[in-house]
């Protein structure tokens, strides 16, 4: 009755290729994945290149360092909002109210600063708490009561617009001139500190990648070829150091009169959030459970995961990140108006997440997607603004981009399921 398999256990895994042997193989695998519909951030990078070519050929000031720094500041709030949206999209849900939740939180922050003279950090915490409470309410309605998230968040989208309108009053606006919070957008990190931080990031990334490579290959586990690890480190170093160099140059429109140089303070904020959420998504049990619930909620439930709690947490994270996005947006404009967060913000953020490679169908997405996608989306109003286009064009382009991103997602999903990648 014993099995015909007589091979020794150690020979049992001879078919298991533990690494793509060379850089060439790794590249081949990558091409296969793309062909199979796993495009990752490729559409976003392609879109970024196209937009840069188009705008720089139409307007000579688009590629100036001054405008590039502006682009970074404008993109920050979209990126942060999109990073929050990624968590909800991972579950296959949607949060239409994130933009206005950010507006409501920003209103609270501004009021605390102006009327109650709270220090900036306390006001910020209050704003994030407002976001968290909103997320808790949405998440509970969705996962405990079972109302579709589309309906719940549409209701919150309408209802939450009342908060700034009531607190500020129609036609008014709150100034937002706290030196620290406003300074996020208008002040820069000292040039030397910026270089040190950039070097620390590059060296840290290289050390972590090599450590990971060594510990995996020493134990004979699945790992990437050394060439790919080195290539990845080189790309990260080039991007980080390149951006630092760009932003460290004097970018004042009239360089003889005064100097503007250094990384805008919003960039470290975005990078810190990126590192934190990337760690949560890839290295924590909670992150793993998020992907599991997004992939197959029933399987997650049978594996003993508390699906309800995971769902509620995702909405809390989304609305809390929306509060930070609302803060950054107020910091950029220097005021909070009653319509804060009610315009294109949310659609920009969803578009950013999806164009960056996060799926609308759940189960796929990274914090990094929000950064790459956010840059693409922010480039559109930046370029159109330079070209002095009427605002109706902006609406058309935004809607078109969102639709395009969703189409790419749907098509790649279809190809994935037929290719089984």
């Amino acid at each position: 009755m014993t099995d015909v398999t007589t091979s020794t256990p150690s020979a049992g895994f001879d078919n298991d290729n533990r690494q793509a042997a060379t850089l060439g193989d790794a590249f081949h695998d990558y091409l296969n994945r793309i062909r199979g519909g796993d495009m990752g951030s490729l559409p976003a990078i392609f879109g970024l290149v196209v937009l840069f070519v188009v705008f720089s050929s139409l307007h000579d000031r688009f590629l100036t360092t001054y405008n590039m720094a502006n682009l970074v500041i404008q993109a920050a709030s979209i990126i942060v909002l999109a990073m929050g949206i990624v968590f909800v999209l991972l579950l296959g849900e949607i949060d239409l109210s994130a933009g206005v939740a950010g507006g409501a939180s920003a209103t609270v922050i501004a009021l605390m600063l102006i009327d109650y003279d709270w220090p900036w950090w306390l006001a910020t915490l209050a704003g994030i708490a407002v976001g968290a409470v909103i997320g808790l309410a949405i998440g509970s309605l969705v996962s405990v009561l079972g109302i579709p998230s589309f309906v719940v968040t549409l209701a919150f989208f309408l209802g939450l617009q009342a908060i700034p309108l009531k607190l500020i009053g129609a036609g008014g606006s709150l100034r937002f001139n706290d030196p620290v919070l406003r300074g996020l957008s208008i002040k820069n990190v000292p040039v030397s500190a910026g270089w040190i931080a950039a070097l620390v990031i590059v060296v840290g990334f290289a050390a972590l990648s090599l450590y990971r490579y060594r510990s995996l290959s020493a134990k004979g586990l699945v790992h990437q070829p050394l060439g790919l690890v080195a290539l990845r480190i080189a790309v990260v170093a080039a991007v980080v150091l390149g951006i630092t160099a760009l932003l460290s140059a004097n970018r004042a429109p009239n360089p003889n009169l005064f100097t503007i140089s250094g990384i805008p303070w919003v960039l470290p904020v975005v990078i810190a959030l990126l590192f934190f959420w990337t760690f949560v998504l890839t290295k924590s049990r909670f992150g793993r459970h998020l992907y599991a619930v997004g992939g197959n909620a029933e399987a997650a439930r049978r594996a003993g995961i508390n699906v309800t709690r995971v769902r509620i947490s995702a909405f809390v994270i989304c609305s809390s990140m929306a509060a930070i996005a609302g803060l950054l947006s107020a910091s950029y404009t220097g005021k909070v108006s009653p319509g804060a967060g009610g315009g294109n913000d949310l659609l920009y953020a969803v578009g950013a997440a999806v164009i960056g490679g996060t799926s609308l169908f759940g189960g796929r997405g990274r914090a990094m997607d929000a950064v790459i996608g956010g840059l693409v989306i922010a480039t559109i109003p930046n370029g159109l603004g330079l070209l002095n286009q009427a605002s109706y064009i902006n609406f058309i382009v935004t809607g078109g981009v969102l639709l395009l991103a969703a189409s790419v997602d749907a098509i790649s999903r279809r190809r994935r399921s037929s290719a089984g990648v």
Partner: protein, 258 residues
């Protein structure tokens, strides 16, 4: 005779007025494959759900390692070392094999998830089961065939040093070669000393791997016999009529005396 690992004695279960299980005795022996057969509505799934702790019992005993145990839910059952592999596989397509095997029970170190330890253990388990068909333990489950997915689901159950594994129709959706793979694996589980329960409609599968056959008929145990003592057609009769020759449920007490 070897002591049963898991045993149910005189179990009764009713849903309202419907008496689904009548005084059912069921035993799982270490190192043996016990096939649980029966027609639709015979009470197979109710019995499995009672073993899994999803349903309670109206009366009767639940014994593990010869000792009566209190079972109040699926968690208690998992703690005993009993794992159930359901027909609709509980795997996440977007996660890879290692991630699926450790789902809900991830190992962590000081720096978050301990991928090195998890991959090593997953690899050991798959190797010990002589699973050689997967290309890489880091490929996503979506890219696996039906048989490979079933294999991962079974390996997931084995990973936790379980003592009893229940397989609900593991070959129902599989082709010939894949059925072969899974049946080999079922046999290997028993050879490792686990108590295996195979719930199946397919007599070919049952006779190929089972050591014992327990046939249910209208909520009663029609027969609990070594597989080598019965023929194919006898088992079919037990399933459809509840008796076959001198095996099975007596039609009435007069017949039983004969």
């Amino acid at each position: 005779m070897v002591e049963p690992l898991l045993e149910l004695r005189g179990v009764n279960k009713s849903f309202g007025v419907v008496h689904v299980l009548h005084d059912v005795d069921f035993a799982v022996y270490p190192g043996q494959v016990t096939a649980l057969v029966g027609d639709n509505g015979a009470g197979k799934s109710t019995l499995v759900k009672i073993i899994a702790g999803i349903y309670g019992r109206d009366s009767g005993d639940y014994l593990f390692d010869g000792k009566p145990v209190e079972v109040h839910g699926p968690r208690d059952v998992a703690a005993l070392g009993v794992e159930i592999v359901y027909q609709d596989l509980a795997l996440c397509d977007n996660l890879d094999i290692v991630e699926n095997m450790f789902l809900g029970r991830e190992e962590t170190s000081r720096f978050g998830l301990d991928e090195v330890s998890m991959e090593t253990r997953a690899r050991e388990t798959l190797t010990s089961l002589s699973v050689r068909t997967v290309k890489s333990v880091r490929q996503s489950v979506a890219s696996l065939s039906g048989g490979q997915r079933q294999t991962v689901a079974i390996a997931k159950a084995v990973l936790w040093n379980s003592k009893v594994v229940l397989l609900d129709e593991p070959t129902a959706a599989l082709g010939v070669a894949q059925t072969r793979q899974v049946l080999d694996l079922v046999r290997r589980l028993a050879d490792h000393g686990l108590g295996v329960v195979l719930i199946s409609h397919n007599m070919g599968d049952v006779f190929e791997v089972a050591d014992r056959i327990t046939a249910l008929y209208l909520g009663q145990v029609a027969a609990d016999v070594p597989a080598k003592d019965v023929t194919h057609s006898q088992v079919v009769e037990l399933i459809t009529a509840g008796r076959s020759g001198d095996l099975g449920i007596a039609e009435d007490s007069a017949d039983a005396a004969v």
